[in-house]
Structures are given as structure tokens and as C-alpha cells.
């Protein structure tokens, strides 16, 4: 009599059991405790110092506590999770399990989906120390803002999915796990180079760099959710998993797999370019750190004519980064049709300082123009009101974020993350080995 469970459920069970016996996953679990713990303790300490020193004006737990604490997850996703993913796929290939299982007739895409689901479940368990940190913070008397935490978690889950897709894809493309590991790290380093290059070159590269995993996580860590970022990330995840499914098939010629992989790459590239045009975005941070005050945003939305800003600053000029961070990124969220033209003859701007007009920010709206050199949000808004010929709106003081200062010590955190967690995981590993298998 055939089994009542569908083959996919059997596959899930098998992948789960394989994850449980994977030493690399247990190492990831153990490492996550101290990694998160050290980050959390350091963040709480700094937060307390700033709270005591400045009275905590505009102190946000998202930026002060959760950004640093969850950066441990980012580190683990870059340096540990790929090895778990590679081991899961390469193990099947090297042991011969894949030769047997692929004869079942199930689509390779389902096989890859099963692996990815289990790897994601494994990652969620590995994120448990970060959730423990949330509980500790609450116990210390700290505040939690659910929407920004949801955005933060979503960012790290997306990042993990990207890593899983990359790890499985490289494991399928290469014969040996160590080659896959080198290739995965090479891709990761490549994204860092892209970030660096984008910061120097600006333009297209700067835009491309804003979709790297590191940039994506940084956005979510600030509570900003952009549909284009989500769509690009999901497209890359789907492309990575589909590439894995194309490549793990046996009995298919290399030429055909290469053709299918090329077609998939073209399709994914088209999907990425389509995704970047999506403009909806949401600032889920309690401090609204990614947005202008609500009154200003309402007034900006009343501008009927297209606004153009000409920035005479080189890519490496710190004022340009300041302008982007403080004002233009917020402005783009309110005015999707905003056009920003950067004018610079060199990348550093060191030898342009004496050029007439260097450092100017020119605003053009409906045939009028104005010029300013101020890079702060307030300065940019002032110039816009000036060029639009309208009065600045009155700021509603009730909606201004006042911050959540908290001067406490991370009591018990060191013991919990650096002793209780690793010992519990070790005990769990032994127990699972004895009782489950």
C-alpha cells in the first residue's frame, strides 16, 4: 500500500532530517548566540550612554538597538548560512542521493523549493537569539514598535533567501562544495565592490548598488520598505532557485542547460529592470526617519509641475552623500517624478573646488529657478518652497518623534547569549542525534 503522505512532504521530512544532522547548521546556531549577544550588549551600553548624556532626544531603538543587534544576523547570513545551503545541495550530489531522488519524477523546482523551505526554517531558528534580545529589551523597560520590527525581520529574511538562492545556485553549478563556497564569497565580495564603485562613480552604478543585499538590509534596518527593493530581491531569489533547478537535472546536455540558464538570466534581468520602476514605498519607522514631516509631505504633493534639481557635487564629495541621505532620498519618496542631475567633472571633486558653480544645488520648477548650497533637509525644503513660490507649512509639533531614551545595563544578557545559548544548543544537538534519528 503506498504511503498516505505526498512525496513532497516526504522530501520535506528528509531535508529536515538532513539539516538536523548538518554540523554546519549547528555551528551556525551556536555562533548566533554570542554574535547577537555581543552586538546587543554593545548597543544597549551605547544607547544608555547617549540616553544619559543627551537626555535621549530623538533616540530610536530601531537605529540604536535593533540595527546593530540584527547586523549579527547579516554577518551570519553572509559568512555562515551559505555553507549550510551549499552542504545541503552538494551533499545530495556527492552521496548519490540526487541520482536516486531525481528518478522519482518530481520537478526539480519542487526539489529546490523543499530544500529552500527547510533552509529558511533553519535560518528562522538561527534567528532565535535576536528574538530573545527583543524580549530582554522589553524586560529592561524598552519600547518596541511592531511595524519597524516587522520591516527589520522581513529584510533579514529576504537577505537569507538571497543567500540560500546564491548558495544553492553555486552548489549546483560547481562540482565541489569548496568551489561553490569560493564562488559564493566571490559574488558577495562583488556586491561590496559594486557598493564601493557606486559610491565613487555615481549614476547607474550608484543606482545598481542600492539593490545589493547590504543596501537592501540597510533600508529595512531603517524601517524603509520600497516595493522596488522587495521585487528585485524576490526576482533574484526566484532566479537563483530556478537556475539551481535547471542545473541539477541529470540526463540533460550541458548545452541545453546553458541555453536555459541564459534564457533565465535574460528573463530575470528584464524582471529586475521592470521592478526598479515600482515607486510605492512605506516608512515603517516610528521616528519617520526616512520621511519629511507630514505637513511638508502634504505640501510637496501639491506641487503640480515637475521639479528638477541640479547638483554640482562630485560622487565622493561628502556633501553629496549628506544631501542624498538627508533630503533627496526623502524627496524621491514623495515626488516619484523628481529629476536629479549630478554635474561633476571628476569623481573626488578635489580639483573642482575652485570651479565657479561647484557646490551649488540648483532648483528648477515651472520656469523658475533658485540656487542654494545647503544640504540639510530643512535647507532643501526651504529652497523648494522658494522656487515654488509658496509659504512653508506649519509643522505639527504633536507628530514629531520625541525618542525613547533608556539608560539601563544589559543585565543577564552576557550569560544568556554566551553561556546558556551555546550549552543549550550543544545539548539539543546531542539529544536530537540520540532520539530523533
Amino acid at each position: 500500500m503506498p504511503s498516505r503522505k505526498p512525496p513532497f512532504v516526504w522530501l520535506l521530512e528528509k531535508e529536515w532530517r538532513e539539516l538536523l544532522v548538518s554540523k554546519s547548521w549547528w555551528v551556525l546556531l551556536i555562533a548566533m548566540g554570542p554574535l547577537v549577544g555581543v552586538s546587543f550588549i554593545g548597543a544597549v551600553h551605547t544607547y544608555a550612554e547617549v540616553s544619559a548624556g543627551q537626555g535621549g532626544e530623538t533616540l530610536s531603538p530601531l537605529i540604536g538597538i535593533w540595527g546593530p543587534t540584527f547586523s549579527a544576523c547579516e554577518l551570519a547570513a553572509v559568512f555562515l548560512l551559505p555553507f549550510v545551503a551549499i552542504r545541503m545541495l552538494a551533499g545530495d550530489r556527492q552521496s548519490g542521493a540526487m541520482k536516486l531522488e531525481l528518478q522519482q519524477g518530481m520537478s526539480p523546482l519542487w526539489r529546490v523549493a523543499a530544500k529552500s523551505l527547510i533552509l529558511l526554517a533553519g535560518w528562522l531558528l538561527a534567528m532565535a537569539p535576536a528574538l530573545i534580545a527583543l524580549l530582554l529589551w522589553k524586560l529592561y523597560g524598552g519600547t518596541l514598535w511592531a511595524p519597524e520590527l516587522a520591516a527589520l525581520l522581513a529584510g533579514h529574511i529576504l537577505n537569507a533567501l538571497l543567500t540560500i538562492a546564491l548558495g544553492t545556485a553555486t552548489a549546483s553549478l560547481t562540482e565541489h562544495p569548496s568551489t561553490a563556497a569560493i564562488l559564493t564569497l566571490a559574488v558577495t565580495i562583488g556586491t561590496w565592490i559594486l557598493n564601493f564603485f557606486g559610491a565613487i562613480q555615481g549614476g547607474f552604478w550608484e543606482r545598481a548598488a542600492s539593490y545589493t543585499p547590504a543596501a537592501m538590509v540597510a533600508e529595512f534596518q531603517h524601517g524603509l520598505v520600497r516595493l522596488s527593493t522587495v521585487l528585485v530581491s524576490l526576482t533574484l531569489v526566484a532566479a537563483g532557485l530556478a537556475l539551481t533547478a535547471v542545473w541539477i537535472r541529470l540526463g540533460v546536455t550541458l548545452r541545453r542547460r546553458a541555453m536555459e540558464a541564459a534564457a533565465l538570466t535574460i528573463l530575470a534581468t528584464a524582471a529586475v529592470f521592470a521592478s526598479v520602476t515600482a515607486t510605492p514605498n512605506w516608512d515603517l519607522s516610528e521616528s519617520r526617519g526616512n520621511s519629511f514631516p507630514r505637513a511638508e509631505e502634504r505640501q510637496l504633493r501639491t506641487l503640480r509641475q515637475p521639479l528638477r534639481i541640479e547638483v554640482h557635487l562630485a560622487p565622493e564629495d561628502p556633501r553629496r552623500a549628506d544631501l542624498e541621505l538627508q533630503a533627496l532620498s526623502k524627496l524621491r519618496r514623495v515626488l516619484p517624478g523628481l529629476r536629479v542631475d549630478y554635474v561633476a567633472a571628476t569623481s573626488s571633486g578635489l580639483f573642482e573646488q575652485t570651479r565657479p558653480g561647484y557646490g551649488e544645488i540648483r532648483y528648477y520648477l515651472g520656469g523658475r529657478s533658485t540656487m542654494s548650497r545647503v544640504t540639510t533637509a530643512e535647507g532643501v525644503l526651504e529652497s523648494i518652497w522658494s522656487v515654488a513660490g509658496i509659504e512653508p507649512p506649519k509643522t505639527d509639533d504633536d507628530t514629531v518623534f520625541r525618542g525613547h531614551p533608556l539608560a539601563v545595563q544589559a543585565t543577564g544578557a552576557a550569560e544568556l547569549f554566551c553561556a546558556v545559548w551555546p550549552v543549550s544548543i550543544l545539548a539539543g544537538a546531542l539529544l536530537v542525534r540520540r532520539r530523533f534519528l
Binding site: 500500500m1 503506498p2 538532513e18 536516486l100 540526463g251 540533460v252
Partner: protein, 226 residues
């Protein structure tokens, strides 16, 4: 006839592993693929099972759809999982026959190490555990690469008996065997493969007649035909 292989050719760069290979497999028979090391037996099985692309030729199935399970040699899958779970997985994942499980366990003497992980078994024990996986799968044809590899004399005899019992139920077995004496004990018909070419196909009597030799020594017949 269950399926037929016609004109199968496979090259690895300048090396031709299989050249215009053709033969047919009858339903319910035990067919032995005999050949020395390097003859192309495993490559042929990989191609027939659809795990390796071939350059030309075809595998024609009577019912148009491939209905086989192939157990390669030299694999060690699910190393950390106990034998008992692997058998349940084989039945569940491949929609195999749960009612055969106890019988297969008994036939292949797997009882003493059901709780042991596959990776801790000896070569012979692992071979028997994987044979059990193959026998529990449902396809009409079962291709096994070197079913006796790693088994001692007694174990080989027990495995041969078990395979015979499953063939008697109508399962078609296609076995790659490099030890001609083992093959002679078990198989109904043979395909002789040497240097990637089929040198003969038929029963011992048919092959002996083709070699103009008496049908009592398959080894001599094989040497004469290859």
C-alpha cells in the same frame, strides 16, 4: 518486450564509451549485462535511466513511458539516516510497496542493523540496504549496477535468491555484473558488452551457438565473443 535500446552512442570528448549499442529487454526476465571493467556498463545504465545524456540513439518503451528505477553502484546516500527510516522514505517518496517491506528486510538480512545509520554500515551491508530501496520502488524494471559488489559468497547467494523471488513476481531485472559466474547463476539472458559495443545477446545456449562452443561455460563463450 518491455523496452528496447537502439543505436545508443555516447562519447566523452575523444573517448567513445558506447558505440551503436542495441538490445531489448523482455518483461519479467532477469537480464545480465556482462562485460569487463571499463566496458561501458555503468555508462549504459546511466544513459538508459536518463541520468546521462547520450549523443545518439534511443530507448523505446513498449508503453511509451519510462518505467524503471536505477540503482547505481558506489553511492552512499542519506548517510546519517538509519536504515529503517531510509526504507520508509523509499516507500513514501517513491510511492513504493509497504507490504513488501518486511519480506525485503528478511530476504536481505537487514534486521540487525535497521537502527544503524547508512553511513556506519560496511560496504556489503550498505549494498544490501540500497538493494532493499530498489526492490521497494514500484517501477516495472529495476536496473542494478553491480548488485554483488562488496558481498561475500553467502550474501551474494542470498541476494541472488531474493532477486529471483522478485523476478518471479513479474519484476524485470536488468543487472550489470562483471563476475560472469555470478551472472550465470542468476540471469535468464545476457547482453555482452566490450569496448562500448554489444558483442552478443541471448541465452547461454544462443550465445554458445554463436561462439561455436558448448553451453556449459559462459566465461569461455564471453571470451570467444569479445
Amino acid at each position: 518486450m518491455l523496452f528496447e535500446v537502439a543505436g545508443l552512442t555516447k562519447s566523452f570528448g575523444p573517448i567513445t564509451a558506447l558505440s551503436d549499442v542495441g538490445f531489448h529487454v523482455r518483461a519479467g526476465e532477469v537480464l545480465g549485462l556482462i562485460g569487463p571493467n571499463g566496458a561501458g556498463k555503468s555508462t549504459l545504465f546511466d544513459c538508459v535511466a536518463g541520468l546521462l545524456p547520450y549523443d545518439s540513439g534511443e530507448v523505446r518503451w513498449k508503453n511509451k513511458t519510462r518505467d524503471l528505477f536505477y540503482l547505481p553502484d558506489g553511492i552512499a546516500p542519506w548517510a546519517a539516516q538509519p536504515v529503517d527510516w531510509v526504507l520508509r522514505y523509499a516507500i513514501g517518496f517513491f510511492a513504493g510497496r509497504a507490504d513488501l517491506r518486511d519480506e525485503v528486510v528478511q530476504q536481505l538480512a537487514l534486521g540487525p542493523f535497521l537502527r544503524q545509520p547508512i553511513g556506519t554500515l560496511s560496504k556489503g551491508q550498505r549494498k544490501r540496504a540500497l538493494l532493499a530501496v530498489g526492490l521497494l520502488t514500484p517501477p516495472a524494471a529495476l536496473l542494478i549496477d553491480e548488485p554483488f559488489d562488496g558481498l561475500d559468497l553467502r550474501q551474494a547467494r542470498d541476494v541472488a535468491t531474493a532477486l529471483r523471488a522478485h523476478a518471479a513476481r513479474g519484476r524485470t531485472l536488468f543487472l550489470s555484473i562483471h563476475q560472469i559466474r555470478d551472472a550465470a547463476r542468476l540471469c535468464d539472458r545476457f547482453v555482452l558488452l566490450s569496448g562500448g559495443r554489444v558483442c552478443g545477446e541471448g541465452t547461454v545456449e544462443e550465445l554458445a551457438a554463436a561462439a561455436h562452443l558448448p553451453p556449459d561455460d559462459l566465461e569461455e563463450v564471453f571470451l570467444a565473443l569479445t
